[in-house]
C-alpha cells in the first residue's frame, strides 16, 4: 500500500498514458457525471457530488472540498466500453462469387479510472455472461482497472445488501481510497495485479502508514453505514418464484412506461439484438449487435406472437430474472446494488421497494 499525493495521481495518469492506454473516467457533462476519455486528473469532476440521488431524480451539487472522487455512479457504466451499445460483429464485402470478411480490429487498450466496487462486481457478472464472446474477452483483457473505494454512498445505493461494496475486493489492477480532509488530500493505493504492482512501484509516494490505513477503513465504513437503499436477499429468490401471479405486478405495470431505461443503465443487463445490414448495391454487409431490452415487445416475439405482451409480464421478467433466475443461470444475483435503475427510471420505480412489496404481500 502506498500513499499518493495529488501529484502522485497525476503521475499515475501519465504512466498509464505512457503505456499506451486511453484513459476513460468520470467527467461533468450536461449536469451529470458521465464516462469519457480524459488525460489529466484535473478533468475529473473535482469538487462535485451526486449522492442526492432518488427514484427518477438526479441533481449534482458542489462539495465543500476538492475531492476528485467525491461522488458515486452516474447514468453510464463500464458496460459501454466492454459490451458497447452498438457493435459491428463483422463486415463482409462481395468478392468474386463469394465474400471476404474484413479483418477484426485489435481491441482498444483502455484504462478505466474510478471503477466502483458495485461496478467491479458487474464486470465480473458480465465476464461470466460473455465467456464465449471473443470481442468482449479481447476488450476485457486489454483493460486496466483503477478502482476507487466509495467513502460516501448515494441515495439509491445498496451495494452492502448485495455484498458487492463499498470496498473493492479484487478484480482490479489498482484500488484507490481518497482521503480528503482539511489536514490532507491523499490517495491510499493498493495493487490488485502484477501489472498494478509494477505501476504502483514506479509512482512517487510513501508507504501508507497505520494512520492512513485506519483513515481509509473509517471512510469506507462511513459509506457502508449510509446506504440510501437496502434489499433483503434472504429467501428473496424463493419468495419471488412463489409470487408469479401476485397482483402487485399489475400495480407496477400501471406506473411502468416500458421505456427500457432500467435495462439500458443496468451494468449487468446483457440482452442484445443482432441485425444484418446491407448496402444499397448489395456489395457490402455488416452484422451489428445492439443493446436490447426485455421491455420491448419484439424481444419476446416467437413464432405465432409475443409471449410477454402485458407490461406486468415484462416487469416481472426483468425483476425475477435479476433477483431470482440469475442465481440459477450464473450462480450470482443479477443485481449489484448500484442503484442506477432506480435513479434513471423516469418515474422512479424502485427495485428494492417493489421486491419488498412483493415479499410482504
Amino acid at each position: 500500500m502506498k500513499r499518493l499525493t495529488l501529484d502522485g495521481l497525476e503521475a499515475l495518469f501519465a504512466a498509464l498514458r505512457g503505456q499506451g492506454f486511453e484513459l476513460i473516467g468520470p467527467q461533468l457533462r450536461d449536469a451529470a457525471l458521465v464516462l469519457g476519455p480524459l488525460e489529466h486528473a484535473a478533468e475529473l469532476p473535482v469538487g462535485w457530488t451526486d449522492t442526492a440521488q432518488d427514484g427518477g431524480r438526479y441533481r449534482l451539487a458542489r462539495r465543500p472540498d476538492r475531492a476528485h472522487f467525491g461522488y458515486v455512479v452516474g447514468p453510464q457504466s463500464w458496460k459501454r466500453y466492454l459490451f458497447p451499445p452498438e457493435e459491428v460483429l463483422f463486415r463482409a464485402r462481395r468478392s468474386g462469387e463469394g465474400f471476404a470478411l474484413d479483418p477484426a480490429e485489435p481491441p482498444p487498450r483502455r484504462a478505466f479510472i474510478g471503477v466502483r466496487a458495485c461496478d467491479l462486481a458487474a464486470i465480473q457478472v458480465q465476464d461470466r455472461i460473455f465467456v464465449h464472446d471473443p470481442g468482449y474477452q479481447a476488450r476485457r483483457a486489454a483493460a486496466f482497472i483503477v478502482a476507487v473505494n466509495c467513502t460516501e454512498a448515494g441515495g439509491t445505493c445498496f451495494c452492502v445488501s448485495q455484498d458487492t461494496g463499498p470496498q473493492a475486493r479484487g478484480g482490479f489492477d489498482l484500488a484507490l481510497t481518497e482521503l480528503c480532509t482539511d489536514a490532507r488530500h491523499a490517495f491510499v493505493a493498493e495493487a490488485g495485479s502484477a501489472a498494478g504492482a509494477a505501476l504502483l512501484d514506479a509512482l512517487p509516494g510513501e508507504a501508507a502508514d497505520a494512520a492512513d490505513l485506519a483513515a481509509a477503513r473509517d471512510a469506507i465504513a462511513h459509506a457502508a453505514a449510509h446506504m440510501g437503499r437496502r434489499l433483503d436477499n434472504a429467501g428473496l429468490a424463493e419468495a419471488l418464484r412463489a409470487r408469479l401471479e401476485h397482483p402487485h405486478w399489475q400495480q407496477v405495470a400501471e406506473r411502468c412506461l416500458s421505456c427500457g431505461n432500467c435495462t439500458m443503465v443496468c451494468p449487468t443487463c446483457f440482452c442484445a439484438n443482432v441485425e444484418d445490414r446491407a448496402s444499397l448495391d448489395g456489395d457490402s454487409a455488416e452484422r451489428v449487435r445492439s443493446w436490447d431490452s426485455c421491455f420491448n415487445l419484439e424481444h419476446s416475439y416467437i413464432v405465432g406472437g409475443n409471449v410477454r405482451s402485458s407490461g406486468a409480464a415484462r416487469y416481472r421478467q426483468w425483476l425475477t430474472h435479476k433477483l431470482a433466475h440469475w442465481h440459477d443461470q450464473f450462480g450470482v444475483s443479477g443485481c449489484t446494488g448500484c442503484g442506477r435503475c432506480i435513479t434513471w427510471c423516469p418515474v422512479g420505480i424502485d427495485i428494492t421497494a417493489e421486491a419488498a412489496a412483493l415479499r410482504a404481500g
Binding site: L257, C259, L280, D281, L297
Partner: protein, 264 residues
Amino acid sequence: MNTRSARNAQAPRRPRLAVWKFASCDGCQLSLLDCEDELLAVAEAVELAYFPEATSTVLPGPYDISLVEGSITTPHDRERIQQVRRQSKRLVTIGACATSGGIQALRNGRDVTEFARIVYARPEYIDTLATSTPIAAHVRVDHELRGCPIDKGQLLATLAALLHGRRPPLPSHSVCEACKRAGHVCVMVAHGTPCLGPVTQTGCGALCPGCARGCYGCFGPKETPNTAALSAHLAALGMDDAARRRLYQTFNAGAEAFRKAGDA
C-alpha cells in the same frame, strides 16, 4: 467487367420507385434528396419512375416500391390513394402526415367549414374533408416510416432492406433506449425537463435529448405507450393540462394514443 456491371447485365431491370405526395409539406420527400452521399447509390439501385420533386420523368406503373407522403384531406386524394395502392407492390408511408394524419389532424373533431371561412377569402373554392387521416385508414400499408420529418438513415435502411428482400429494421420501442445507447443524459431525470421519449417510437436517434431538450414526440406513439403514467409524472413536474395537451397534440395529434393523452 467488374462484378457489379456483370450483375446489372443479368438483371432485367432495376426496381421502380415512385414517390407520391398527399397533404404534406414535402419535407419527407426532401429527406430522400437530402441523402447527398447516398443519392447516387439510390439512383443506381432503383429506377426513379415517378418523383416530381426530383425529375420530370414519368414512367408507367406498376411500381415495386411506392413512398407515400402526406395525409388524406380531400375527396380527390381519397380516390387517388386507391390508384396508388393498385399500382404498388410495396407501399411505404413516410412521415407523420402519412402515418398519423399530421399536424393538420388537429382539425379532426372541430368545425372545418368555420376554419375555411376564417382563413380563406373565397371559402367556396375549398373542397376538403372534415378530417385529415393517415394513409393506413384508406389502404393497406406495408411499412411505416415515422417522424416529422423522417430519418434519412431509416429511409435508406428501409430501401436497402426492401431491395434485398429483408424486413426493414423499424423498431417500435421507446426513444429512451436510443437516448441511452447514444449516451445522452436524461433531461427528465437530471434536469426536470418534460420529455415524451418514454412513450414515443424510436428512429430519430434521440435528437432532441441530445440537445438537452425534451422529446416532442414527432415519431408518434411507441408500442404499448403508457401515456397515463407519463402524464401523471408530467403533472408532478409542474405541467398543467393545457401544456400537456399542446405537448401530445402536435405532429401526431391524430395518433390515437397521443390524441387521448392530450384530451384526458
